[in-house]
Every structure is written in C-alpha cells, then in structure tokens.
C-alpha cells in the first residue's frame, strides 16, 4: 500500500509540474461551465421545465459532469502505451508492486491533482447559478460512493485500453475515437434522460454511463429510492466484470512482455 501511495504521489507531482497547463485547464473548465450554462438556457428558451427536469437542475447537471470529468477522466487516458513505446514498461515490471496496481495508483494520483481545481471551481459555479445542493440526504450519502465507483470504472476501462498497446503500438487514433465515444455515452454532455430513445438504450447497456451519469443523476435526485440502489449495483457489477477482464488481459500481456522483452 505504501508503494502504491508513492506511485500516486509521484504522478500527483508530475501533474502539478505542468503548472501553466494546469492553470489553463482550470480556466478552460470554467469557460466550459459558463458555456454549458448559457447553452442550456438557450435550449430551454424560457421554459421552466422540460420532461420534468428544471433548467436549474439541468445546468447543475452540466456543471457537475464537467467537474467530474476533470476528476474522473483526465486528458491523459492511460500512460501505458506511452510507457511501452518508450520501453519504460520493463522498468515498471521490475518494481515490487504489480504493474496494473502501479498504473491505477498513478492514475488516481493524477486525478487527485484535480481536487484543488474543483475546490475553486465550486464557488464559481454557485456564483453563476450553475450549482445545486444534493437533492436529499440519501443523495448526499450515495454520491461519494457513486463517484468512487465512477472513478474505478473509468480507470479500469483506461487500463484495459492501455494494455492493447502490448499487442500493437498503433493505438493513438483508436484511443482518440474511444475517448469521444466514451464521453458521449457517459452522459457527460447530454444526460441520458434527454437522449433520443435508441441512443439512450445503447447508453444504458454500455459501461460508460457509470462514469458520469450515475453519480450526477444520483446527486440531483433524478434517480431515487430503489433506483439508487439499482444504479450503484450496476456500477458495482461493471467494476467486477471489468476488473476480471483486466486481470485476464494482464496475465496475457505479462506473458507477452516476459517472452519478448519490453
């Protein structure tokens, strides 16, 4: 655990080293929140409610999912292909803790660098009227759980994708395409409730909604009571399934590195 902490701390530092990028990503995030607030108001065009969702709930959703996106899914989706390309993966394998563990810890460290950004962004969001308190006590309790779940699902997806680079280095284009498909189906841009029917059905059957839509919808009380438990259960199921898949792929990848060299 200590070693994992060290890995996480290192990535945290790396993230902070790029200060200018860090600051500007912060400015960009605020701009994004502003943009979404304005755009959603324009879509509502004076109506108070559409499909039972009020404008203030919708802007809060947009803000929340933007903030979560910073935390859950940093720009850098997975460092693995880069490390394989640079031949650093051999060094990683020599470290005393498991490689997937290292990568996960590193990713979490990177994500935690986003926390200060979130702390500053929240007042801003409240200021422009794009923030909202949790819908209920139950929502306040369920939200952190769902957020951790989202983080894990996302990291597992990233890990799986990154491990593809053990078989082929030509992943950049695919990664790019993946990122945007994942972003759309996560509900980070359009909540599932506003998606056209068939798209919504697809989104519900894909793991991506667990990375953005689930926590935000719980927080805003769009999913309540029994639905809350069900949403968390679906997240949990994805974590188990993806975790098992990652372990399987990893055992194959490891075999490949060992027999061919990094």
């Amino acid at each position: 655990m200590k070693a994992h902490l060290a890995c996480a701390r290192m990535e945290f530092r790396v993230a902070l080293t790029y200060r200018t990028s860090y600051l500007s990503s912060f400015v960009m995030m605020l701009l994004q929140i502003y943009l979404l607030t304005v755009v959603w108001s324009a879509f509502y065009d004076g109506r108070d409610e559409v499909d039972g969702v009020s404008l203030s709930t919708m802007t809060a959703y947009a803000t929340l999912s933007t903030l979560q996106y910073t935390l859950v899914s940093p720009w850098r989706s997975s460092p693995i292909d880069q490390r394989v390309r640079e031949g650093k993966v051999a060094v990683d394998l020599l470290r005393p803790i498991g490689f997937p563990g290292q990568m996960l810890a590193g990713q979490l460290g990177w994500a935690s660098a986003a926390v200060p950004v979130l702390l500053v962004a929240l007042p801003f969001a409240l200021l422009i009227g794009a923030g909202q308190a949790p819908a209920s006590t139950a929502a306040a309790v369920a939200y952190p759980l769902a957020l951790i779940g989202a983080l894990l699902v996302n990291q597992l997806l990233g890990l799986l994708l990154g491990m593809v680079s053990f078989w082929t280095l030509e992943v950049s284009g695919a990664l790019m395409a993946y990122r945007f498909v994942a972003q759309f189906f996560s509900g980070a841009l359009v909540p599932l409730w506003f998606m056209p029917g068939p798209v919504r059905a697809a989104a519900e059957w894909l793991p991506f909604q667990a990375t953005a839509y689930t926590p935000a919808a719980l927080y805003l009380g769009q999913v309540e009571g029994y639905g809350m438990a069900a949403a968390l259960a679906v997240q949990g199921a994805w974590i188990v399934a993806l975790g098992a898949l990652a372990a399987f792929v990893w055992s194959r990848a490891r075999h490949r590195v060992m027999s061919q060299g990094g």
Binding site: D51, G173, A177, F184
Partner: protein
C-alpha cells in the same frame, strides 16, 4: 516570382513530409477516423439535444448543422497545412528551429512541413460532408454568388483560426511554452463556435467578435447566408466582409510571427 518560389518550396517540402508519413501508413486510416470522432462528439451533442428541444436561439437543426459544417470545414482547411504549429513548443525548446534558420527557406514553411498529420483530413472530410448535406437542407437560396461567398467564407474562417493560432505560436519565442494558450484557443473555437452567438448575450457577443474574432469564422457568414441579418448586433456588411477580415488577420499574425522570431534563443548556450 518570390511567391512562386515560395509555393514551389512549400510543395516540395510538403511532398517530402507526405512520403515520410506514408512509412507509417498503418495508422493512416485509424487516425482519420480518430479525427472524425473528435469533431463528431460535439455534433452528437447538438443533434441529441436539438432532437428533443427543436431549436437554440431560434436556429433549428438545419441551420445549426450548416453553421457547424461551415466552422468544421474552415477548421479542417486550416489544420491540413497548419497542424504542425501544435509542436511549436518542442521545436523551439529543443532547438530544432536552428536548422530551419540555416536554410534559404522561410522557417515558418519548414515548421509547417516538418510532418503531416493525416488525421486533419478527417476534420476536413467530416466538415465537407456535413457542410454539403446541411447546405442542401438549410434555407439558403444557392445563387452562384452565394456559393462563391460560401467558399470564400470557408477560406476566411480558416484564415481567422490560423491567424490566432499563429499569433499565439509566435509568443513561444519569449514564453517558451504556449501550448496551453493554444489549447484554450482551440477549445473556444470548437466549443463556442457551433452556436449562434446571440445566445451568449451582448457583452460576450461583442467580445467574441472584436476581441476574440470567433464570429468571423462561421457565425457571421452563416447568418448573412441564412438571411438572418436581423438578429445581428453588428451591421450585415461585417458578415459579408468576414473573408477579408480573415486575410487581414492572417497578414497581421504573420507580421507578428516574423517580428517575434528575432527573439529566438536556441537551446543550450
């Protein structure tokens, strides 16, 4: 005569970059697809929401798609020759720029042709397809004049975006790291550029016209083509003049680049 030589040299170097890129052609197709997706997600958002809401700022799906297609085509048209500016930080910090300065060819041309990114073709192809489809369904009277203006507007939009990116890149000679600034510019273009500007209110609208000239990329020319001049806070001739604004901005940006390049410090003294 000089311009002719400039063009010949550009084609020569761009050709070399293409040949080099083809050594990695396995990536070609997937990169183009990647580029398409990058732009596609924004469109998917607008499509999904408009499917439910019908309009934004009084613009329906055909108009928004037209605006989007115009901006995307302009973006792709700029990106195809201009993509390498993304790497200006490393080129300057690692001293690769040294080598450009000892050849009898414009350093900027050498920078732009150091490699080609074929994923830019994805942006351009996506933009052209979308613009073609949207042009057919948008309520525009396609006289030859209107078609001509559309083509000029695409070119002008490419020049506006290129001018801002070039000006931001020129700061590298003093600031060493400008990629965050350029990312921010890119984000404003790709996120704010797809909506009718009037939804942002008059202050932001003014800023996005005269301070950060986003309006000239697609919104102003699209508005005049769609015959929606009434909603403009600025005179309509500014919309018709958008291509000229592109030329002027690019000229200014190029002069700025030329001046800043004197501050180049190379690497390791």
């Amino acid at each position: 005569m000089r311009a002719l030589r400039g063009l010949r040299v550009y084609l020569l170097l761009a050709g070399a970059a293409f040949r080099a890129e083809f050594q990695y052609r396995g990536n070609l197709f997937i990169n183009i697809i990647g580029g398409l997706f990058y732009q596609g997600v924004g469109l998917a958002f607008i499509w999904a929401v408009l499917d439910r809401f019908g309009q934004v700022g009084g613009w329906g799906l055909p108009e928004i798609a037209f605006l989007y297609g115009l901006r995307l085509t302009a973006h792709g048209l700029w990106l195809l020759p201009g993509h390498q500016l993304v790497h200006v930080d490393e080129v300057v910090i690692e001293g690769e720029y040294d080598r450009y300065l000892v050849r009898p060819v414009s350093p900027l041309v050498q920078l732009l042709t150091r490699r080609v990114r074929l994923s830019s073709l994805g942006d351009l192809a996506g933009g052209v397809v979308l613009l073609s489809i949207a042009s057919a369904s948008a309520p525009v009277d396609w006289t030859p004049g209107a078609v001509g203006f559309l083509l000029l507007a695409v070119l002008g939009g490419a020049l506006v975006e290129g001018a801002l990116q070039l000006a931001a890149s020129a700061l590298v000679f003093r600031m060493k790291k400008v990629s965050p600034i350029k990312f921010a510019i890119d984000m404003i273009f790709s996120d704010f550029g797809n909506y009718p500007l009037k939804i942002f209110g008059s202050a932001a609208g003014f800023g996005l016209t005269f301070v950060f000239p986003l309006a000239f990329v697609a919104y102003l020319p699209a508005t005049v083509l769609l015959d929606r001049e009434d909603e403009l806070a600025v005179p309509a001739w500014l919309g018709w003049g958008a291509p000229a604004v592109g030329v002027l901005l690019m000229y200014a940006a190029y002069r700025f680049w030329e001046r800043q390049t004197r501050h180049y410090e190379s690497s390791g003294h």
